[in-house]
Amino acid sequence: MNTRRENAGKKDLGEVIVITSGKGGVGKTTTTASLGAALALRGQRVLVVDADIGLRNLDMMLGLENRIVFNVVDVAKKICKPAQAIIKSKKSNNLYLLPASQTDDKDVVDEAEIRYVLEQFRREFHYVLVDSPAGIEQGFRNACAGAESAIVVTTPEVSAIRDADRVVGLLSSKGIEAKLIINRIDFEMVRRGDMLSVRDVQDILGIEIIGVVERDDQIISAANCGEPVVYNQKSKAGQAFTRIAARVCGEQVPVPTFDSGSLWSRIGRKLGVNA
């Protein structure tokens, strides 16, 4: 992403990143909202685009559901001016939302129209994050249309990993480089051997990991209130998304793996000794 970011900088065009997963319910929308907010906190101008037409939710995650007038379909069909459709976040002057339409189907727009929409905003933002719908059909293809890179979200579960692998393959055939976020990992379960570790997931999928987010109750409360979790710096998930934002901007921040470690520290833990 760094090289693309530099190239984008030269042309004064923001980088378009699609957030996708294949499987539903793994945290794409939460990731889009949290990463968008975290990038905005770093001073980057960010637009988050809800490409889940018919099932919009990104507005809820940002607490902006009451402010929607126009949406992505209106911009695509030139019913409104691009600037009329975007909504500024309550929390940040750098973060904007382009909401999905709630009443249309996913095939009401095509890839060319989405590309047109993104082109309208790339000059004004450093990052445009596109929240993809679940699945690999038209909605997914639309979400990928203008993207230069992708963040694939998975959880350490077999079905999510299998779908992530499929999506990585599809992205690669479109020439889109994908990086991985492992969401909702529980390091205690990893230690017990009942959950795939960061290393396991990396070995299976074979793509670069840009972030690991621990399972965190704060995500639910943050969603309840429509405030991205990054504003709560006590939240482990919030800290994780802050680190991911730093990596997206090209900073070298190590990804925590919490792998089982040495034999003796494992024995120590099993016996309840903190090594």
């Binding site: 579960e157 077999v158 299998r162 499929r166 393959g169 396991d200 099993k270």
Partner: protein, 117 residues
Amino acid sequence: MFNALKKKLFGESNESKETAKSRLHFVLVQDRTGLTNEEMAGFREEMVKVIEKYFVIDKEGFDIKYHRLADTTTLLINSPVIVRRSTSGSSSKSSRLTETEPENETDTETAAVASNV
């Protein structure tokens, strides 16, 4: 008692993630290659035949991986070699290998064949 202690200490045998890994490994090879079960079995069988022409191998440990890296996809064929088949112009390494007892399963070497796809 020892087994229970071993289980407690090392968490062996009841690690469900190992099951997850092997199941994913199986299903992803099919997903990635787009080969059906029968085609995969046929491919495997033919590969075993080719390798067996030159090596005595442990068929149980024979394993095909379709490994994706950042910019390339690699077919990794892992085959534990018990001995090299003796040929007329055998090298010193192969003669050393042929001296070992073929039934000694622990004394295997692994031949990895990698090819970019």
